[in-house]
């Protein structure tokens, strides 16, 4: 039995030791002396492919800064940040959320708009440009994926467009809700949903371009998806965060964003 206990003690010490491992990417409080700075970025899900490219481009110039990305819906991030989630920068698909954070004095710098998002109809098996919005009324369309309107801006706008075309009540039963816009896109890309109302930025990605076709929903049918990012209080003193924020304003970054459909 004492052998068991020695084993248990070894495990306990191992467990406690591993609770603070000396790892190269450990979050440090003083970015000035650390070899690797960490920046935690909350990015709206529509930026999935655009942000990956942005981070790649940025890392090529400054490889001592580690950008950690978390994708999700803007509304969810707003909630988490309001509850002191340790993010340094918040990229939101709707300016409304960063504005609320500003009012709550949780921001470090002014909000910087970086583009306007667009809605598209995307389908793996159908060509939405043939019927436009009426594609949704086809009998072969049994499931339509949208992002959760409760906390995803693209979901809210999708609802608005549907109502504008007076299609909302007709297709309501077919709607399938994704956690955020990229889950909605995933439902559509596997064919689980026959059509998805997703972000242009995702439709323009290499994966989705290959898999299906899209049709741009006229922007006039919904409120604009003005996107913006903001440095948060947590980023105070984080040079890496400031550098990355500055990079987004560069010509290179603007080009990437434009490529993914974030027109001005």
């Amino acid at each position: 039995m004492s052998r068991f206990f020695s084993f248990l003690c070894c495990c306990l010490s191992l467990a406690l030791l591993s609770a603070s491992p000396p790892r190269p990417n450990a979050l440090v409080t003083d970015p000035h002396t650390a070899p690797l700075q960490e920046v935690l970025v909350a990015a709206a899900a529509d930026l999935k492919f655009a942000m990956d490219s942005l981070v790649k481009a940025f890392s090529a110039t400054s490889n001592d800064i580690s950008i950690k990305l978390v994708y999700g819906s803007s509304g969810n991030f707003y909630e988490q940040i309001s509850n002191d989630a340790p993010f340094d920068i918040f990229f939101s698909a709707d300016l409304g959320y960063p504005q609320k954070l500003e009012q709550q004095h949780m921001t470090l710098a002014p909000i910087v708009p970086y583009g306007t998002g667009q809605l598209v109809l995307w389908s793996k098996n159908l060509d939405p440009s043939k019927e436009g919005m009426n594609t949704l009324l086809l009998s072969s369309v049994t499931h339509i994926a949208i992002a959760n309107p409760a906390h995803a801006p693209y979901g809210q706008r999708a609802e608005e467009s549907l109502k504008h075309y007076q299609l909302y009540d007709k297709v309501r039963e077919k709607l399938v809700i994704g956690e955020n816009i990229s889950q909605a896109a995933q439902f559509a890309s596997t064919g689980a949903a026959d059509v998805g109302i997703i972000a242009l930025s995702l439709a323009l990605s290499p994966q989705l371009q290959k898999e299906g076709k899209y049709w741009l929903i006229p922007p006039a049918t919904h409120q604009a998806l003005k996107q913006g990012f903001v440095l948060l209080q947590h980023a105070k003193g984080n040079e890496g965060a400031e550098k990355f924020a500055a990079f987004i304003g560069s010509a290179r970054a603007r080009a990437i964003l434009k490529y993914f459909g974030f027109g001005e």
Partner: protein, 212 residues
């Protein structure tokens, strides 16, 4: 190119949780097995709750409880959550183990002048090794599989709270099906192997009497 960090995080969480649970559960299970307090049923029900409660309910209450101390979005917060989440998987096998021991074992130790503590360490625990193993393995495996609670209070932060179970979800959302599939296969193989080991060991322990 698999990112091993989520798997390492999941493993670390499960390991720390299991060790802590062992320390907490032995006295707790002992008390529940042998006490005659009438309020026991309430405690037993509370302990077993995480087995039947939707993880989102547990996540919800944990979010409220942990927010003031800024433990949400931290690894430590996940450890605390896992302690609640996996507690019944350690305590219940131990209680069964203790209850399956003939009362004469404990009582004869007392008649030999040994204290409750000595009896627990030297007589009872060595005779419930299968239950200890079951408890350890089940809590470990259950913690590896944690998803709903982690989603709600973890924040999915890479290197800190992005466990393997969340990583699969992320990769699926990003349509990286190959990566998702790799994680899924690793976790599946791991869970299956561990359960196989438990069953094999339990068969070994319940071998028929060698004299018969």
């Amino acid at each position: 190119m698999t990112d091993w960090q989520p798997l390492w995080l999941s493993f670390r969480l499960a390991f720390i949780t299991t060790v802590l649970l062992l320390v907490i559960s032995i006295p707790l299970a002992y008390w529940l097995a042998y006490s005659r307090w009438r309020g026991k049923a309430v405690i037993e029900a509370l302990i077993s709750l995480p087995m039947v409660l939707p993880p989102t309910v547990l996540g919800f209450y944990l979010l409220i409880a942990l927010s003031p101390s800024h433990l949400v979005f931290t690894f430590t917060g996940l450890v605390i959550a896992s302690l609640f989440y996996s507690l019944p998987f350690m305590v219940n096998p131990l209680i069964s183990g203790f209850k399956s021991l003939p009362p004469a074992l404990r009582e004869s130790s007392y008649t030999l002048g040994k204290s409750g503590w000595t009896t627990l360490i030297k007589v009872l625990l060595p005779n419930i090794r299968p239950s200890l193993l079951t408890g350890i393995v089940l809590s470990f495996a259950h913690t590896i599989g944690e998803f709903g609670v982690v989603l709600m209070i973890g924040g999915n932060i890479p290197g800190r709270t992005r466990l393997a179970s969340l990583a699969i979800y992320d990769e699926m959302e990003s349509m990286n099906y190959a990566a998702a599939s790799t994680y899924a296969l690793i976790l599946f193989t791991f869970s299956f192997s561990i359960l196989l080991i438990v069953h094999l060991v339990n068969h070994h322990f319940s071998r028929p009497d060698p004299l018969s």
